[in-house]
Amino acid sequence: MFIPLAVILFVAAEFLIGWWALPVVGFVLGVVGARRNFVGVQIAGAALAAWGLLFAWSAVHGELRTFLDALALSMKLEPGQLMAALTALPALLAGPAAGLGSGLRNLLQPVAEPARTARTVAGLGA
């Protein structure tokens, strides 16, 4: 449920604080999910999915593709370059923020290393 919840959180936060939702929610989710494997990647994916949903919502109201192509031309970009930026941006903003959040938590609340070491030693001993 972590990833669907993350997507919902990103979508909700987008309405409240706009694109800042990516680093802010990404950081918070990074702290919360610090113990998960590849948490940065998971949260980047959730951010990407959230933006995908939100753009799909805009597409209901008009010709999104045509508009984005025109926007790209106005920015002196190829349409593909803008699409790449739109895809990369949520992942690149949310992912490192999540990495920062999880890293800080792990630094401040390290996982109980001795227990793991003891298990390993015991295993070897066996």
Binding site: E14, F15, G18, W19, W20, P23, F27, G40, W51, L54, F55, W57, S58, A59, H61, G62, E63, L64, F67, L68, D69, A70, L71, A72, L73, S74, M75, K76, A85, L86, L89, L92, L93, P96, A97, A98, G99, L100, G103, L104, N106, L107, P110
Partner: protein, 829 residues
């Protein structure tokens, strides 16, 4: 532990760098803040969600006197039903701001020289020029002189209330996409005085003509006699605006062109200064540069010459075409007081061109000479503090202009010196002062506001008496069948020769203006015997009838000639016929000039020229989309013009200082022995008229064959002509370029060609009979400034093909046809 720390620091650095780019952008690389721009909820894509008007909406306007209803018809036109005129202007302000806020701010900032606060340092040259021309200074003076109780002032305040009410509702999501691309924020408030700045901007477009500078530079090369002939006071082909009784054809007054003379050395210093000033970004382009497309047409037909027995009025101002359009269409209704429909400039509180229940009106630019430049003698050319006047030193007034960025930080300063005449431009150590009618205090809006309520032509003309600048040929018709035209505005009376055609000597007051002409001295016509009135920027008076000087080097009369001949040939004119006239593809310029090419080609005996001549000979001079001949004619003309006026090229590889009008080229064509045909760059060879024409035609034919292949479909005018409608700040994705139109340089609906963007900005026809008013109109674009809206360019195709929309003008809310309502906006106090 160490690995985790390194990873965390890496994430922190990456996140910080990305956040910086997303929040601030990279101004050096032209990258706007990507976060707010690409944000799917509040960024550019949000424009899609706000492209359509809601079916119904309720909003508040603080200060509104009573509930006001705005019904948007299916064309996106707001019909305002208000309890009083102030509320009508408030509602208009709200509606215009909702559709065009970015355009309003951009236009205001362009006039006030504060574009840097919106677009950053890249706009600094434009801002400096606007301030050196005194646009903001004049607007401040005008605003200070406005009577705060005047109708115009009240309208501006009410309009600003509406704009600011909308501004208060604006969110990040509804902020126009242009701000997001620029990384800028919309201005916090619209002040009433900004409407005055807007009119200054129009004065710059329509009444800042550097003719004097061009003529001065030309005379410095070829002497005054030749310069006066090439840039003449009077057109050699007269089809004046003020009709001449009994005349049924243009009057010809051709004169042989005098040969180029010795340079006028007394003009070398002013010419040097003029050369710099003229080539500034804001200078009005010459008709040669715009393909005659900066101008306008209007005509009115009296009841005795219409099929319906009512008056017909048509107008199409030709301006820089943009998306969104320079115009915004609206209908304002206040019971028993106001019922006016038409177009306004976004930022102006009232209808500029349009009609009410009894009267219809439209404008063309009168042009003429309303500005003079004076070469001043100063104490220190590099750091002047005084200028000499009648032998005594006078202090220059220094105005420090400060340019700021969006954060309010100063990015540059500039000192503009003022003489008693106006602002000065200091170039190459020469100080030119600028005297311009647009700098004088005036309140044009008083006239516009009062005119919207006029019930007759006479009342309308009286209402417009306060109007000063830019001078316009104001054409009016009413339900009683009266048609009239009068040029409203100010023309200076000059001492000495009475003309201001060269840079003047600033050292004496004797060269100053001594007054202005009375309205009775202006070009005008009232119910002329011929039964119609036509203005198309041609010389207003025939000098053989009225020798009064109000300008020189008037635009070519091709459009006027064509319109007059069509109207003379039809005494049962219908609105449909008027619509056809507005986009009539026949080019009088080509009809008069092309035969010279044909004759020159036929005399040559060359096979290529025979083919080229055949193409032109069989041509009906119409710029239809599938025609081949206009492609060849325009290419040949370009070469012939360039090769003829080589005497005006100051140095090798430099552009000519000025290019005479095509009409003067035609005047030269009439004299095969003229010395102007010789190319002074080919020593030892004496070129002839026919040789030059044949060579130009052959080169054009060869070049077109090389580019497009043999004559065929790829030569079609639709492929090589055309017109561009650019976005306001030329954002490529939002432009609509290379539209194929049946227009060219000299046709009634002009087009400035494949690289230009001037043309008919609003086409309107109004029929006024005793029992009804009926109107049709269109402009290229749409009501919305939002590029994601279907209303951004929904009228473009109709406009391109010369069609008009039938306008609905319900006098009451109840009479509004339900099927034609797109959206309802209820405004409450």
């Amino acid at each position: 532990m160490a690995r985790s720390l390194v990873g965390t620091i890496g994430s922190a650095v990456t996140a910080a760098a990305l956040l910086f780019v997303c929040a601030r952008g990279v101004s050096g690389a032209g990258i706007p803040p990507l976060g707010p721009l690409l944000d799917p909820v509040h960024g550019a894509a949000a424009a899609l969600r706000f492209g359509d008007l809601p079916a119904s909406e309720k909003q508040q306007i603080p200060g509104l006197d009573a509930d006001t209803r705005v019904l948007f018809d299916v064309r996106g036109v707001p019909h305002v039903y208000a309890a009083n005129t102030r509320d009508a202007y408030r509602a208009l302000g709200y509606a215009v701001a909702r559709d065009r806020f970015f355009q309003m701010e951009l236009t205001y900032r362009a006039a006030s020289g504060t574009l840097t606060e919106l677009a950053g340092a890249r706009a600094l040259p434009l801002d400096k020029e606007a301030r050196r021309l005194g646009l903001g200074w004049a607007a401040e003076q005008k605003w200070a002189a406005v009577d705060s109780n005047s109708e115009g002032a009240r309208a501006m305040r009410a309009f600003a209330d509406g704009v600011n009410a909308y501004r208060a509702t604006m969110t990040a999501a509804t902020t126009p996409v242009e701000y997001k691309l620029l990384g800028a924020q919309p201005m916090a408030r619209w002040e009433p005085k900004y409407s005055v700045y807007l009119l200054m901007r129009m004065a710059l477009t329509l009444a800042h003509d550097p003719n004097d500078l061009r003529r001065t530079r030309a005379a410095a090369l070829i002497g005054r006699d030749a310069a006066d002939a090439l840039f003449p006071r009077n057109n050699p082909l007269q089809e004046p605006i003020q009709p001449v009784a009994g005349r049924t054809a243009p009057r010809e007054a051709w004169m042989p062109l005098p040969p180029p003379g010795a340079p006028d050395t007394s003009l070398l210093a002013p010419a040097k200064a003029a050369g710099v000033v003229e080539h500034t970004a804001l200078a009005m382009p010459s008709s040669d540069e715009t393909g005659d497309a900066l101008g306008s047409n209007n005509w009115a037909i009296a009841p005795q010459r219409t099929a319906s027995g009512g008056a017909l009025l048509a107008g199409d101002p030709h301006l820089d075409l943009s998306l969104p359009s320079i115009w915004y269409e609206a209908h304002l209704v206040v019971k028993d007081s106001l019922d006016v429909y038409g177009v306004t400039f976004p930022g102006s509180p009232t209808i500029v061109i349009g009609f009410n229940q009894n009267v219809a009106w439209t404008f063309t630019n009168t042009g003429g000479d309303v500005a003079d430049y004076f070469l001043e003698e100063v104490d220190d050319p590099k750091a002047p503090t005084r200028y000499k006047l009648d032998g005594a030193w006078q202090p220059l007034t220094a105005r420090i202009e400060t340019f700021r960025n969006a954060a309010g930080d100063t990015v540059a300063t500039d000192t503009v010196h003022y003489t008693h005449r106006g602002p000065t431009m200091n170039e190459n150590g020469h100080l030119l002062s600028f005297r311009w009618t647009a700098h004088d205090p005036s309140n044009e809006l008083d006239g516009f506001v009062a005119a919207t309520r006029a019930t007759s032509v006479a009342a309308w003309q009286t209402a417009m008496l306060p109007y000063r600048t830019p001078t316009q040929n104001m054409l009016v018709a009413d339900r009683a069948g009266t048609i009239a035209l009068r040029a409203h505005g100010t023309y200076p009376i000059r001492a000495n020769d009475g003309e201001g055609t060269y840079v003047r000597d600033g050292r004496t007051r004797a060269n100053d203006w001594t007054g202005t002409f009375d309205v009775g001295d202006m070009p005008q016509a009232l119910n002329p015997e011929q039964g119609f009135i036509v203005s198309a920027n041609q010389q207003p008076f025939d000098p053989a009838v009225v020798p009064r000087f109000i300008g020189s080097n008037w635009p070519d009369p091709w459009r006027a000639i064509r319109l007059n001949e069509m109207l003379r040939a039809d005494d049962k004119v219908t609105p449909e016929r008027v619509r056809q006239m507005q986009t009539d593809p026949l080019n009088v310029r080509a009809r008069l000039i092309a035969p010279y090419f044909v004759r020159a080609a036929e005399r040559s005996g060359d096979a290529t020229l025979a083919a080229a001549a055949g193409l032109l000979r069989d041509w009906d001079f119409r710029y239809t989309l599938d025609a081949h001949a206009p492609v060849l004619f325009e290419a040949a003309m370009k070469r012939a013009i360039r090769n003829t006026w080589d005497e005006l090229i100051p140095e090798k590889d430099k552009p000519p200082v000025a290019v005479p009008a095509n009409m003067i080229f035609l005047e030269a064509l009439r004299d095969s022995t003229s010395i102007w045909w010789d190319d002074r760059r080919t020593a030892g060879t004496a070129e002839t008229r026919d040789g030059l024409l044949a060579a130009s035609l052959k080169a054009a034919y060869d070049s077109l064959t090389q580019t497009h292949g043999p004559v065929g479909t790829t030569w079609a005018w639709s492929k090589t002509g055309g017109i561009n409608v650019h976005h306001l700040v030329n954002l490529a994705g939002f432009n609509r370029d290379r539209l194929a139109v049946t227009s060219g340089y000299g046709t009634v609906a002009p087009a400035s060609g494949a690289t230009g963007s001037h043309g008919a900005s609003w086409r309107m026809i109004v029929e006024l009979t005793k029992d009804r008013r009926t109107a049709w109109a269109i402009y290229p674009g749409g009501q919305s400034g939002n590029p994601a809206s279907t209303r951004y360019d929904d009228r473009l195709e109709k406009w391109r093909t010369g069609q008009l929309d039938s306008l609905i003008v319900p006098e009451t809310e109840a009479a509004f046809p339900k099927a034609r309502i797109l959206s309802a906006l209820d405004l409450r106090p």
